[in-house]
Amino acid sequence: MIFQESGLIAANESVGDRFYRMALFAPRTASKVKPGQFIHLKCSDTADPLLRRPFSVYDWDEKKKMITILYAVVGRGTEMMSKMKSGEKVNLMAPLGTSFSIDVNFNEALVIGGGCGIGPLLGLVKQLVKKGIETTTLLGMKTGQTSILIDDFLLAGATVKVATNDGSIGIKGHVTEFLENTEKKEKPDFVYACGPNPMLVSVQKWARKQHIPGEISIEEKMGCGTGACLSCACRIQSQDNEDGWDYKRVCVEGPVFSLEEVIFDE
C-alpha cells in the first residue's frame, strides 16, 4: 500500500564528505517500511528540478515515528535537500519497492555497502542483529571523514570492517578487497550488498564462485517510482523470455533483487 506523507524534518546534518543524514517525523512510513525499501522525495516546489528523488530508508523507529535517510550531495536535488532546515516539511511517497529478505534462517550474514550504497543498510543490519544473526558489515567509503557512519553500524551490533580510498580509516582500497581475502571458514551464509555497479559486479562474481546466495539493491534513474512509466528498467534474468532476460522495474520488482538474477552491462 503506497501513500504520500508530509515528512517533518527533525534533523538534517552533514556527516562528513558529501554525506548528510536527514531525520524525518513520518509516522506512516515509520510503521510500514521494510529494510531495503525506498521513499520518493519531492525536493523542490518549482518545476525545476521537476522530478522526485528516490532514497532508501537508512533507519527508522516505529515508536518515535521517525525515519532517517543517508544521502550524498551529487547534483541539484540533493544540493537543495542539504539546505533544508529542521522544521520544514517535505512530501514523500512511501514505502516503495521490494525489501531485503529477513525471514531467514541462517547464522552468518555479510552486508556490503559502498558510498551512497550504505543508504539502505543500517535498518537491515539492525533487523539481522535482532534476529541473532551474526552480521559482518563491510563499508567502503571515500575517506574517513564519514566515520560517524561506522559508529551507526557498530552501535547496531555488527562487526564492521572499513575500506577507504585514501586509507585514512581501515584498509586503503576497495571494499571488495575484503572478499578476495575471505578465508573458507569465514564464508557467510548470505550476502546483502548495495553500492556502485563495479562493486556489485565483484560481489556477484565472488558469490557465484563461492556459491553464496544473496540480495542486492540497485539504482536506476526514475520517473514515477510506482511502476507506471517504465523508466527504471534494468536487465534481469527471466525464464519467460527466449533470450533469458527481461527489463524489470527497479521501483516495483526492485530495488532489491536476488544477487544472481541481475545482469550488469560491463
Binding site: 503506497i2 534513474k221 517504465l230
Partner: protein
C-alpha cells in the same frame, strides 16, 4: 449554485469529467490505485500496446531537463495477446472508461491490433498513436504526413466500431492539417501533444543521457507549445480535442480547455504529484462554480481574442 456538470463525451466514450491520464505515464492503471480510487477519473488511457511484445530501449530511459523530462522507453509492453490475458480482466472491472493506446511499425500492424482489440469486451476506445516511426517508409513517424496519417486512421476505422482517438505528434510544421486529415479519415477525436523530440548530452562522458540517444520531451516545459497546438487544432476540426502536455495543476487544465480542449490528459504531472488527476478534477469543478459555468461547454474554447490596433 449547484455543482457544475463536468460530463464530457468523446464519441461514445462517456466520461464523468474531462480528466484522463496520458498513455505511458499511468501503466495499466494499477500503479496509482493505492493512492486514490481510479474510478474518479474521466477516463484512463493505458500504456501503448503493440502487436508483438517489445522489450523497450536500453537504460537510461529518462533524463531530467529544465522543467521537463526526456524519455525513451521504447514502447516496452507485453504485446497485445498478453495484455488481453493479463491486464484486461482487471481493467474490465473498473467503473471508468479504459482507452487502449496502440502503436505499430506498419499499417498492417495497426489494422491487426484494431481488429484484435475490437473483439475484447470492456474496452471503451482506441487511441491510435501515429507518432511511431514508419519502418516501411524510412523511419519518419506516420503522424508527420497528412496522407499517411489519413491512411492509418481510415484503415483502423474499418476494423473497429469503437471510438478512435488519433494521437498527434507535435514534431510537425502544421499539426492542424494532420488533425483535419485524421478527422476526414474517421477519427472521433484527436489527442495532442505527444512528446517533442529532444536530446541531452552528459558533458563529462560526452554520451547522450538516454540509452536511445534521442527521446521525447514532456512536462511543464512544453506546455506553451501544447496550448498553441490545441488552440490551432480546435479551430479547424469539428471533433473533440483532448489536450495534454505539461499539465500539473488545475490552472493548467483550465488553460487547455479555454484554448479549445474538450478534455485533458495528465502525463508527467502524475510523477511529481501522484494524486494530480484528482486535484485537477476538483480544481476544474471549483473554477467552473466560481465562474458560474454550468457545463464544460461554457469553458471549452472560450479564449477571448480581441484584435487590437
Amino acid at each position: 449554485m449547484n455543482n457544475p456538470d463536468l460530463r464530457v463525451s468523446i464519441g461514445e466514450i462517456h466520461m464523468k469529467n474531462p480528466v484522463m491520464t496520458a498513455s505511458g505515464t499511468y501503466g495499466y492503471g494499477e500503479a496509482y490505485s493505492d493512492l486514490y480510487d481510479v474510478n474518479f477519473l474521466g477516463a484512463m488511457v493505458v500504456k501503448g500496446i503493440t502487436p508483438e511484445p517489445r522489450k523497450g530501449n536500453p537504460p537510461p530511459r529518462i533524463a531530467e531537463t529544465p522543467a521537463g523530462i526526456l524519455n525513451a522507453i521504447g514502447l516496452q509492453n507485453p504485446g497485445v495477446e498478453k495484455f488481453i490475458l493479463d491486464e484486461v480482466p482487471r481493467l474490465m472491472k473498473l467503473q471508468v472508461p479504459v482507452i487502449v493506446n496502440m502503436s505499430a511499425n506498419t499499417i498492417e500492424g495497426y489494422q491487426r491490433l484494431a481488429r484484435r482489440l475490437d473483439e475484447v469486451e470492456g474496452l471503451s476506445g482506441l487511441e491510435v498513436n501515429i507518432s511511431c516511426p514508419n519502418v516501411k517508409q524510412g523511419g519518419q513517424a506516420f503522424g508527420t504526413d497528412p496522407k499517411t496519417a489519413h491512411e492509418v486512421v481510415s484503415k483502423v476505422r474499418k476494423e473497429t466500431k469503437r471510438p478512435i482517438i488519433a494521437k498527434l505528434t507535435p514534431n510537425v510544421t502544421n499539426i492542424a492539417s494532420i488533425a483535419v486529415s485524421v478527422e476526414d479519415a474517421g477519427a472521433d477525436a484527436v489527442s495532442l501533444i505527444n512528446t517533442l523530440l529532444g536530446m541531452a548530452i552528459d558533458i563529462k562522458s560526452k554520451r547522450p543521457l538516454l540509452g536511445n540517444v534521442v527521446g521525447g520531451l514532456s512536462g511543464p516545459a512544453v506546455k506553451p507549445v501544447a496550448v498553441r497546438m490545441v488552440w490551432e487544432t480546435a479551430q479547424v476540426v469539428n471533433i473533440p480535442v483532448i489536450g495534454m502536455g505539461g499539465i500539473t495543476s488545475w490552472q493548467d487544465a483550465v488553460e487547455f480547455m479555454i484554448a479549445g480542449a474538450s478534455a485533458v490528459a495528465i502525463g508527467t504531472g502524475n510523477f511529481t504529484n501522484p494524486v494530480a488527476a484528482v486535484d485537477i478534477i476538483d480544481g476544474i469543478c471549483a473554477y467552473m462554480k466560481e465562474n458560474n459555468m454550468e457545463k464544460t461547454t461554457d469553458l471549452v474554447g472560450k479564449v477571448s481574442i480581441e484584435t487590437i490596433e
